[in-house]
Symmetry: C2
Subunit: 348 residues, 2 copies
Amino acid sequence: MSTRRATITDVAREAGVSPSTASVVFSGKTPVSDSTRQRVLDAAQALGYTGPDPRAASLRRGRSGIVGVVFEEHLGRAFQDPVKILMMDGLTESVASMGAGLLLLQDQAEEGGGPSLTTAPVDAAVLVGCSGILRESLAAVRARGIPVVVIEGDAGEGVPRVGLDNREAQRQAASHIRGLGHTRVALVTLPVRSAWPGGWLESVDDITVDVTRDRLRGARDVFPDAPAYAAAGSLIDEGLAAGRLIFADPGMRPTAVIAQSDLLAAGVIRAAEEAGLQVPQDVSVTGFDGIVVDGLAPYELTTIVQPTVEKGRAAGQAVVAMLRGEVAASIDFTCEFRAGNTTAPPAE
Amino acid sequence: MSTRRATITDVAREAGVSPSTASVVFSGKTPVSDSTRQRVLDAAQALGYTGPDPRAASLRRGRSGIVGVVFEEHLGRAFQDPVKILMMDGLTESVASMGAGLLLLQDQAEEGGGPSLTTAPVDAAVLVGCSGILRESLAAVRARGIPVVVIEGDAGEGVPRVGLDNREAQRQAASHIRGLGHTRVALVTLPVRSAWPGGWLESVDDITVDVTRDRLRGARDVFPDAPAYAAAGSLIDEGLAAGRLIFADPGMRPTAVIAQSDLLAAGVIRAAEEAGLQVPQDVSVTGFDGIVVDGLAPYELTTIVQPTVEKGRAAGQAVVAMLRGEVAASIDFTCEFRAGNTTAPPAE
DNA sequence: TTGTACGCGTTATCAA
DNA sequence: TTGATAACGCGTACAA
């Protein structure tokens, strides 16, 4: 028994053909006579050869069929966010059409951790958000000519972005609230930076997360003085915690709460129920995302519907285009306001 | 301007050293004098060389630093399951310690889709469940000497498994229910096969999903005649739907419901509330998994706590061991019963 | 339809 | 501390 793995050369020799012929049998790029094919296949079988080595093939082709997806946060956290999941869904789909798969990467200091953008054999990369640390590796990757696309973030010059009209959309929801007659409004925002513990927001300048800042601005365009509680994450329980604080003082109660995500809104609704408030009679609540919140029935959130899946799909298509050598432009998606049964005029 | 990308050979020539020396500067495997290192680095800078090509490196090293994770279901579905997410968490962690990352793969027919186990440059593979289609590619991969581990499934001879004592654990929960005095019990199970639309379960023989079958058997060990509704997925809304059916006929109402997942249990609780039933006074509910169900407060589910993260971690460690050439044994984890406030003796 | 020849970019080994 | 050499395993012009 040889200790070495059989290669296509071995198979070719065994079958009595040239390596290139054997190669073609497996790739199917060129017609091969049935008899030759069979000989090659038999030889492969005999030698226990199970097809070309993907590593060698990818070196030769210059393509690995792998697209890296870089998250700023711990992967476990990222996957708790339905919006990111849906986005991944669209991304998976459009990237699969190219025959590629997704490699999970985390934007992190090395610390002996997993593969980085620079060491992984990726054909392209999709950044989900784009905070500080990444910048260096980003330069290296781009220098290598690897296409990069950013979703909801800014990676600087020449990196196509897939974005959202967060500010306008949130302004629209706020206008809806004002149109109903509300004046005492509280805001519940997404985290202002990674590892944010949650708390009342003092200054907009503290915010390093684009999405949070943009949506906050949209709300403040309409309600400049509305107090804002920044949650530690987009979770129902975080919204619940925020809601408890907001509804704690009966004298100060707002008549409407604008949340930056549907999950936060769901938590706020639950807090309102806890406090003996009826939604929407006593307090109106709006969300953001337009996802299906498992278990929220019978409420139908008044919210902003964003095209989550499409965002991922667009990023994938941009990547595919760039791999073809085309130039991909940034693309901005538009949200759509959807009235549900969680908003109403304030009680007199 | 040359249209070609600079290689390490170019850098070496520019720096006046041999390619191997230049290589060592980047890999750090061998000490290099400071002056030489600097010359190489300068040359790299001048040529716009940003480090070794991962594809070539992986061919040479025989390692890509990529571990494939294969799901039986659509990836979007898999990511909706908190148990899988947590498992991925543990897997990511242990695999990162080796400097590897995860490539998302789907157990599917080719259909021009993403990369398969056979075409992706993976060093190892982790199967999450193991149904039919995979088998063929599995053989090819194993023939190539790539380590494979299965979580909650059976991939046949010689493939180490990471499992759970599903049947015993579920039996324990059922015994708890019986110990409280319940006799009219309904079961809500996980899907019995992929693309299962949900419905009452006729025969245990219909079940192709190991987890579902094992847990069902555990419950039936105690309540042999309990009717079982098999949900379409592990979702709160699915539990809600099941609960509505179960509580529909006031005359037939069970006093306890044993659900195969916490999410299903959460839905059942909501259905009970809808039907005007108090939990646990009017109906007891048990779950399975021991995850934190976002928004379920103030309930604390009586449930079976399974070591989700550890399962993933163990799979990763098995993979790491196998890559070192060691033999990894199957490992079975044990669940732990946890009493919450959703079970109580039946009302008289 | 098949074979020849070569390069993809790196790194391990060993000798200097 | 540095350099020469030889793979790693494959795909693809191009010629036959």
